[in-house]
Amino acid sequence: MAKKLAIIASKGTLDGAYPPFLLASTAVALGFEVKIFFTFYGLQLLNKNLNLKVSPLGNPAMPMPVPVPSIVQVIPGLEWFATWMMKRKLKQKGVASVEQLRDICVETGVDLIACQMTVDLFDFNEEDFIEGISSGGAATYLEFAGDADVSLYI
């Protein structure tokens, strides 16, 4: 029987989007059955138009070309700059885009599940989501994760 990978995706930033889609697409290539359960800010990863950002604010580990003190990081435009820099670097290094990895997940049959409670909580509009998303709650996740070989909270 196929191995199973269960992921909870709770982050909606550019850097937070990589681990779930990257691991899910690779797992399918290795023969896993995969389900990703999107909750809280992770729901942003289901939007048709992804506008994901990365911020150095509150993230002292983010490599920067020059040290930028936290007080300066609140300046408008710095988040835009950090995002632009990260995207440029990803491209330069031949890393797939989030959109590309997500497309592969959809094409290869990864089950994408939106957490119904947080969809309601944040008034997300399911029409903004890509096609083929199912919805479910904690029990839906646990039923699959209960006999999954790998289970990750990201």
């Binding site: 990257l22 697409s25 690779t26 290539a29 290795l30 023969g31 290094k93 031949g94 890393v95 797939a96 990895l101 592969i104």
Partner: protein, 78 residues
């Protein structure tokens, strides 16, 4: 390198694209055919053998030439 049927050059692409592209190429091949995979992602030295082991497509050969990693994978019979 020994003989092969299909060549896939993933030079410049980073993890996990070489594995994803190898999977796609192998899915379009028939059992016993051989894929020559070229990779520049250094992590492939561990990733391709893991991919081979988990998917049942034997890794017949691997070496490094001019800074590129070369692998010969045989499509398994599943």
């Amino acid at each position: 390198m020994s003989n092969f049927d299909v060549e896939l050059d993933t030079s410049g692409l980073n993890c996990p694209l070489p594995v994803l592209k190898a999977r796609k190429a192998l899915s379009e091949m028939s059992a016993g055919q051989r894929l020559h995979l070229i990779v520049t992602d250094a992590g492939a030295t561990q990733d391709i053998p893991a991919f081979s082991k988990m998917t049942g497509n034997p890794l017949l050969e691997s070496n490094e030439q001019q800074g590129k990693l070369h692998f010969i994978l045989e499509k398994g019979s599943e």
